[in-house]
């Protein structure tokens, strides 16, 4: 077992130890200073340069503290620190060097004084980050534009801003042996199922890894089964979405340096919802949801069905259409399977290029890919026009799915269906659908079936809505994720009930 190095009362010993550990760490500043009356008290301040850049400014809390130390006798300084007489926020006493380094590397300043075997962690503004910006991947027409940032503290504050209730708990821990990444687990104390919370905490402790650089790494370490392409966590960049899910009884995990929050348990229907679904009227929201499900089918099945039909079952198409297909494919040197795979891969290249290149160039890539490559490929008889249309419709379908990771799973499945349809016709498509349905039916996200609410044992009002969004006023109950005794979420206020009662009596 590793020996715990305690802080010594001798400042020189502490300084020596710190200097040794921080050798060749130019960004960590070790500043000895003399404070107190007649500058008799030896002190030491250790911090990361950029993270605590303004500490010497007079108007900062730290500056004020140091100024104050010049005026008091050295013997009183430890007592002053112990009692935090200046009322500086978040001052914490540290006893071991591990705690000291933990605090420094988290972006705080640590203050030592000779003759005192404790150090003081003085919170500072921490590492630089981008600040709150717009959610890029979940754009909405209606609703907040705020998105999560890279700082876990900012992110939890953004959620707290929406749920100003102490029943929303934020439990902090560190993950990654070398990265010491701050991970926060957010939940509503009275809504979350205890079993779920326990599972989440256990899974976070299950692995030791050298570094967690993004919530995606955390997600992959904790999901089961690992081989499924379907995401078991919902990922969001929107604090309002995270707050909404907390109110449903779900758990949110925030990870430092990641602008994405993980929401669990994840369910199929959740991935098909957009946060603005709840801001629109239910008719429009329902229409959009149905459209998304159709888009999902298009994105997954269309290329496979196209191949199945033109290679095996031409009889199901109207004669003129199949003759058009035949005419259009005349002169194309590849088989229709190869043709479709080539074009799909070409589209994947365009898509990937569009993501990687800077914003303004992204549009140009779209034009180059869509117009020039597509048109040129048809003109050169490399592909038939109908295949360009199939690939375009498939791509549009996958873009309509609100969750990128979920859409990616279906993008992968599309290739499976493409091969099955191309080589086994409708039989292959049926085999593929059975296999997909069987896989999804077996998938659980933290004990909740992935296919909820399409499979359910409780009434629909308890399970939550799927393809059809129920009107807001009838959304009286929380979904199954929340505790049963807390399932009621919407009711008329007593004052209103009393008021309407009086009105009835007056009417009479």
């Amino acid at each position: 077992m590793e020996e715990i190095k305690r802080i010594s009362a001798n400042l020189r010993d502490n300084e020596k130890y710190i200097r040794k550990r921080c050798e060749d760490c130019a960004d960590i500043l070790i500043r000895p200073m003399r404070l107190g009356e007649e500058r008799k008290a030896d002190c030491l301040m250790v911090y990361i340069e950029v993270a605590v850049s303004n500490m010497m400014l007079d108007d900062s809390a730290l500056g004020k503290m140091i100024n104050h130390f010049w005026e008091i006798s050295p013997e009183k300084i430890p007592e002053f620190l112990r009692n935090n007489s200046l009322g500086i926020a978040d001052v914490q006493q540290l006893q071991t060097m591990d705690e000291v380094f933990g605090a420094i590397l988290s972006g705080n300043a640590v203050f030592f004084i000779d003759g005192y075997d404790r150090a003081m962690k003085i919170s500072s503004k921490g590492y630089p980050d981008m600040g709150v910006s717009q959610a890029e991947s979940e754009k909405v027409l209606r609703g907040s534009r705020e998105g999560f940032s890279d700082s876990v503290k900012t992110n939890s504050a953004l959620v707290r801003k929406r749920l100003r209730d102490t029943r929303m708990k934020v439990v902090e821990s560190q993950s990654g042996v070398r990265s010491n990444t701050v991970v926060q687990v957010l939940y509503m104390e009275d809504l979350v199922q205890e079993e779920l919370l326990e599972q989440v905490k256990n899974r976070l402790k299950e692995y030791k890894v050298d570094g967690i650089l993004d919530s995606g790494m955390l997600e992959q370490l904790t999901e089961e089964p690992w081989y499924s392409p379907f995401p078991q966590y919902q990922v969001t960049e929107r604090p309002d979405r995270a707050a909404q899910e907390l109110l449903n009884g779900k758990v949110v995990i925030l990870c430092d340096n990641s602008p994405s929050a993980l929401i669990l348990p994840g369910a199929f229907s959740g991935f098909m919802e957009s946060s603005e679904d709840w801001y629109h009227h239910f008719e429009m929201a329902t229409f959009l949801r149905v459209l998304r499900y159709l888009a999902l089918l298009t994105a997954t099945l269309l290329p496979g069905l196209y191949l199945a039909v033109i290679r095996f079952h031409t009889q199901i198409l109207p004669t003129n259409l199949v003759l058009s297909f035949a005419e259009a494919r005349g002169g194309v040197p590849f088989s229709s399977v190869a043709e479709l795979i080539l074009l799909e891969l070409a589209f994947e290249l365009i898509r990937e290029a569009g993501v990687r290149v800077p914003g303004a160039l992204g549009n140009a890539i779209g034009i180059v890919g869509g117009l020039i490559i597509g048109d040129a490929a048809v003109s050169a008889n490399l592909v038939s026009p109908i295949v360009v249309m199939i690939v375009a419709l498939t791509a549009l379908g996958s873009m309509v799915i609100p969750d990128e990771e979920f859409a990616a799973a279906f993008r992968l499945l599309k290739y499976g269906f493409l091969l099955l349809g191309g080589f086994l016709g409708i039989y292959g498509i049926v085999l593929g659908m059975y296999l997909t349905a069987a896989h999804l039916a077996g998938l659980l996200s933290f004990g909740v079936p992935y296919l909820v609410p399409f499979v359910r044992k409780q009434p629909i009002r308890r399970v939550g809505d799927g393809m059809i969004r129920i009107p807001f006023k009838t959304r009286k109950y929380r979904p199954v994720y929340a505790r049963k005794e807390q399932s009621l979420r919407l009711r008329k206020t007593r004052a209103f009930e009393a008021g309407s009662q009086n009105k009835k009596e007056t009417d009479r």
Binding site: L307, Q315, E327, S336, G425, I426, M433
Partner: protein, 575 residues
């Protein structure tokens, strides 16, 4: 998690499992040649449903022994019980694979071995067979409702194709016969004997006290659908035809149109749904097999059971396969045996429980896809005859295919002087002509878009027209809504050329492009089949007469006699 607090399936999931497992195999296998038919069959099924309801009620009272048969009956007794059910499951699995082998290569995709297609089905259905009842319940829950809805919707759509005179024939010819009713009732009981596996699942079903309800409803649903189909099939296809067709449910939609002409045919989709049901049934057999093996402490069957099922299906000795005895096995061994076991269990009575195993299975489906070869044929490498002529010349058949001119038909080509092509084959038999086609033509003959069929008078007046119909029956791609015509010489009609349209489109337009009151009543292939099966004759076909450059169609002799003196000027000539 509280959602799955009891790890059991709901009644809804149980109901959907039963419907999904039994409906498709029953729809395919029960009606038809040597199967359950007509009024007798419907009454037999009704009787069987009543017996089944009583049996289930009784069975549910003695399920305790199935929870842990070894504890209940001892190691040997438990083992024998497990073996008894395992044989049933293996035989049933092999039977379902035989169905896939017989249906898919003929009706859906040709050119791929049925054995290989069945192997793929085994691989897919064995995935996750040991993953517990909840998973099966969820799979049924998510797909069972849609399956049932679509099956019912399609069957209801088919009502429009039915004819009351066909139904009357059925009533007149089938009659009521007690022997048939009893035979059909027992046949249906044998088919539904899979319900005897339910006691093994009882521990995984919630609200045990009222489990009977979903089972009753499921039996009534499946029985109701089948009884409906027994009336629908003769109403659409004719009584004699369903006695000769092995799987009459498959061509049921070969002549149906969807409103809006979005799809020309949707029988392929219909078969797709039925296949999904078969796959689910196969998956259920694997799942229950594993459950039973676990219950009788014989380990897991997740690897060997699919293999044994496949071997039972594939192995043959002197042309005989184990599945050939499936019917007799059900009737003489399994059903009586099940009854005896049930009596024995009922007399002993006990309740025990056991735990489930859990693990995963990988699939080689996509990786092994290349083994299936490339049986699909690109659309441009097919020939799409829209019209077909068949005639007799001396002792030889003359088969003519009228192909459309592609640039003209699709509007994609430039102005050309090309006319539609006609391919003529002559031979003593259809096999000979088929061989001739294979030797001389590069393109695949796709008769899925055939619109009209012109039969020469010489063939119709000879006694060889039946050979032609036999040949057509072997071509399931041909829709049954094709119009048939009679002509003095079929080849001459096929060679008729019109620069605007092909013969197939021209004649179909002639029959259909009229307001409903004026629409001509043509004779479709389905009607020809009906009369052929029913009376052994061919109905009077509308006659095509070629007068100069014009084609005229007379629906019957009377019309022909009245209209022969008329004359017409086409717009071209007027111009």
């Amino acid at each position: 998690m509280k959602y799955a607090e009891n790890n059991r399936i709901s009644h809804r999931q149980l109901y959907r499992q039963i419907v999904l497992s039994f409906a498709a195999p029953f729809l395919i296998c029960i009606p038809g040649k040597n199967g359950v038919q007509g009024v007798n069959g419907a009454l037999g099924i009704g009787m069987a449903v009543l017996i089944l309801l009583v049996f289930v009620f009784w069975m549910l009272r003695s399920t305790g022994g199935y929870t842990d048969p070894v504890k209940y009956l001892g190691k040997t007794g438990g083992g024998i019980l497990g073996l008894f059910f395992m044989v049933y499951l293996i035989m049933s699995g092999a039977y379902l694979l035989t169905l896939i082998e017989q249906i898919v290569p003929i009706w859906l995709i040709s050119g791929i071995s049925g054995k290989w297609l069945s192997f793929l089905a085994v691989a897919v259905c064995a995935y996750g067979m040991d993953r517990g009842m909840q998973r099966r319940g969820r799979l049924a829950d998510v797909s069972g409702g849609m399956f049932l809805l679509i099956i019912l919707l399609i069957l209801l759509l088919c009502i429009g194709q039915g004819k009351t005179e066909y139904l009357r024939e059925t009533w007149n010819e089938a009659g009521l016969d007690g022997t048939y009713i009893m035979r059909d009732a027992y046949g249906f009981l044998c088919a539904f004997s899979g319900i005897g596996l339910l006691p093994f699942a009882m521990k995984d079903i919630e609200k045990k006290g009222s489990t009977g309800k979903p089972i009753f409803y499921a039996i009534l649903t499946v029985g109701g659908i089948l009884m409906f189909v027994l009336f629908l099939l003769p109403a659409v296809l004719g009584w004699k035809r369903i006695q000769k067709e092995v799987y009459p449910i498959l061509p049921l939609l070969a002549g149906a149109d969807l409103p809006g002409n979005v799809l020309a045919r949707f029988d392929v989709l219909w078969m797709g749904f039925l296949l999904y049901g078969i796959l689910f049934a196969l998956g259920s057999l694997f799942h229950y097999g594993n459950q039973i093996l676990d219950a009788v402490h014989l380990g897991s069957g997740k690897y060997w059971m699919p293999l044994v099922v496949y071997l039972f299906f594939a192995v043959s000795w002197k042309g005989m396969r184990p599945v050939d005895f499936y019917g007799r096995y059900l009737g003489y061994i399994f059903v009586p045996g099940l009854l005896l076991i049930q009596i024995w269990m009922y007399l002993r009575g006990s309740h025990r429980r056991r735990k489930k195993a859990a693990a995963a299975i990988g699939l080689l489906l996509v990786l092994t896809m290349s083994v299936s070869g490339c049986a699909g044929i690109e659309p441009e490498k097919r020939m799409y005859p829209l019209a077909m002529g068949i005639d007799l010349e001396e002792l030889n058949y003359v088969l003519s295919y009228g192909m459309p001119n592609l640039p003209q038909a699709t509007g994609q080509g430039k102005d050309t002087e090309e006319n539609a092509e006609v391919l003529t084959l002559r031979g003593n038999s259809f096999e000979e002509m088929q061989a001739l086609y294979e030797r001389s033509q590069e393109k695949y003959l796709d008769i899925g878009h055939l619109q009209i069929l012109v039969v020469g008078a010489a063939l119709l007046d000879s006694d060889r027209w039946e050979e032609f119909l036999e040949y057509l029956k072997k071509e399931p791609l041909a829709g049954e809504n094709i119009y048939l015509f009679r002509a003095e010489k079929a080849e001459n009609i096929l060679n008729w050329s019109n620069s605007d349209t092909s013969l197939g489109e021209y004649l179909t337009g002639l029959m259909e492009n009229r307001t409903s009151g004026q629409q001509k009543k043509g004779v479709t292939l389905r009607e020809v089949y009906h009369q052929w099966y029913q009376y052994g004759t061919v109905p009077a076909l509308p006659e095509i007469i070629l007068t100069g450059e014009e084609i005229q169609v007379y629906l019957n002799e009377t019309e022909k006699n009245v209209n022969t003196s008329g004359e017409m000027q086409t717009p071209d000539r007027m111009g």
